[in-house]
Symmetry: C2
């Protein structure tokens, strides 16, 4: 059989305040098109369908429509699990009805051991899980980490393997060998979870993973991350996004890239150069800007936005402290001395000398005395 | 055909802080039992399945399980709409799959005009709607109120009537003749909505309404509220809860009462009497208490709770101002003069004289002067 492997849709996510729903709909339609062109027998979505446990109504509406399209209109079987960003309970609504249309959505550990057979393959749909749930399931307190848990889970799944069929695991966790590169995924070490060793996953013909947004985070022939279908942070700017098309016999994994509706670019230069030159990339794309100017440019962010409306972050090469315009409260937490030092640095392009800093501190102390 | 008419489940509602999920599960099981005993051909749920647009995970889990039980286990057709307490989008998740199992859940105005046929009857499932949505649908700005809207909607529905069949409307609004008695329903006049006249609804053989929690709110043979299946406020304490069993041929409406797992009682008496006598009702029921004592009893609420653990409200016959223990902020909004007047009244059992009030006001003014 042939299936499409995708994950980490994060429907409803925004990028530093920019709504991504339209871009997410665009990339969904590309995935739908690929599934049809490649005549797949099923679509695997390996968790994090939503970005939040309580997604917005707009996000719920959009994902609902996408799943209707894929399953009820295109008549594609879907094999999906909940990820750490999803609420298993909320996402699982309707799942008992979905199976009648070959839409298999598993959100519970208990149901992970009963395979779903599509064509020549048994799919084991393992949702994101906490260690304690696995301890409870097996009544075993000696499960210390996620690899212990997976050894027990895989062992239990193997008991249900039909030898004549192929066996695919769909799961959502951090597997050993992964490089942590994306800002988007910060929950991996929460609770002291370690990684799952690829050797633990060896019994499967293929493991379709979700969780890490970079498909290159793990290099193994039969154990792959699809990554997210689009870039969800500046740290993903350099990544190529896409989906895997997996054939079981003979085994083959084909990478099919997805085009971003609006890409994320990292650009660097002086203010004059950045606004004078024609942008090499489309105006409506997302930009991470690094300014190389020494001197302070008043209202620089708004001036840059005239040229690049969707700036998601701004750095200065010659400034120790990054302008964190999304967190103005950082400024409020700075002491008067720190603020003055920053102001001097921005205005003069160099740091205050020790002698200047001393004068400044004395002056501020004197002013403070007068106020009291 | 025969169907069960219920509404206003409000799954996830709490009663002055007391969780009702277990009681709601109990009453659901009674409804399920009645549906089976009466061998109904369908179950109508006329809106407000949830209490909130974003219900808790526990509420989502419970309603999901209840609907699985009713539809997939008991194989009962369900005819349901969203109410004003539901999020149409969230509640509508999965509806496109539900229809394959004769679970008809409509949350959009657009789909209200296409009847669902069960047995000899066409059901028109009209979710709770806003006037503007109706104006948009018909492209008509001259729809001024909910009755105008319903005249247009009913007219449009009539075009789709199959004459040989019976016609039932399932809807969620305030119909004329209703008595507003329940505290639970306070949204009726929001946006200046008026009521729907029963004459507007005359074309239907039966109108299964939700919204008002008291089944006696409207007295019409063919237009009925089922009311909520359990009491959701003290104002509903005197109401009998239940469901309607409706036969289409010959038309018949049978009321089947539901037993509350924990009833709501209004009790009145002196503190001594209330704690000395054996409670006539079960200890674990909910109590609205009216104390007839003149004198102030220290820590009275906690003392009463030893006998009646689930007190939802406490009043005093001889106190102008009710002790609003669920809203301590009310106390904070009182002026020192008001607090002193209350304290005097509670301590002495009588109000201050005008002369005393004057002395008190002067004393408080003097104290305030010293503080400044």
């Amino acid at each position: 059989m042939r299936f499409l492997h995708t994950a980490d849709w994060h429907v409803g996510k925004n990028l530093n305040g920019f709504d991504l729903l339209a871009d997410q709909q665009n990339v969904f339609e590309q995935i739908e098109g690929i599934a049809q062109d490649k005549q797949v027998d099923g679509v695997v979505i390996a968790g994090d369908l939503y970005d939040r446990s309580i997604p917005s109504e707009a996000a719920v509406h959009q994902l609902n429509q996408e799943l209707v399209q894929l399953n009820l209109v295109d008549h594609l079987p879907i094999l999906a699990i909940s990820g750490n960003h999803d609420s298993a309970t909320r996402l699982g609504t309707g799942a008992d009805w979905f199976v009648n249309e070959s839409f298999y959505l598993n959100t519970t550990l208990t149901d992970a051991f009963r395979p779903v057979t599509v064509g020549d393959t048994e799919f084991f749909l393992l949702p994101y899980f906490g260690i304690q749930a696995v301890r409870n399931y097996f009544g075993d307190d000696k499960i210390h980490n996620v690899n212990d848990a997976m050894e027990r889970i895989v062992g239990e799944m193997q008991k249900n393997f039909t030898p004549a069929l192929h066996h695919v695991l769909v799961a959502h966790f951090f597997a050993a060998g992964s490089e942590r590169t994306a800002d988007s995924e910060t929950t991996i070490e929460v609770g002291g979870l370690s990684a799952v060793a690829t050797t633990t996953l060896a019994p499967f013909d293929y493991v379709a993973l979700g969780h890490l947004h970079n498909r290159n985070a793990l290099r193994a022939d039969r154990i792959r991350y699809s990554g997210s279908p689009m870039k969800f942070s500046v740290s993903e700017a350099g990544q190529e996004k896409g989906v895997w098309i997996i054939d079981t016999v003979p085994f083959n994994a084909e990478w099919v890239p997805l085009r971003p509706a609006h890409d994320i670019h990292k650009i660097k230069g002086t203010f004059a150069d950045l606004v004078a030159n024609s942008p090499q990339q489309p105006r409506d794309d997302f930009y991470d800007v690094e300014l190389t100017d020494h001197e302070r440019i008043p209202d620089v962010l708004n001036k840059l936005r005239e040229r690049y409306p969707k700036i998601v972050s701004l750095h200065r090469t010659h400034e120790a402290r990054q302008i964190d315009f999304d967190h103005p409260q950082t400024r409020r937490q700075q002491s008067p001395t720190e603020l003055l030092a920053d102001f001097y640095q921005q205005t003069m392009g160099i740091d205050m000398t020790d002698q200047q800093a001393k004068w400044a501190a004395n002056a501020l102390t004197a002013i403070k005395g007068e106020e009291e």
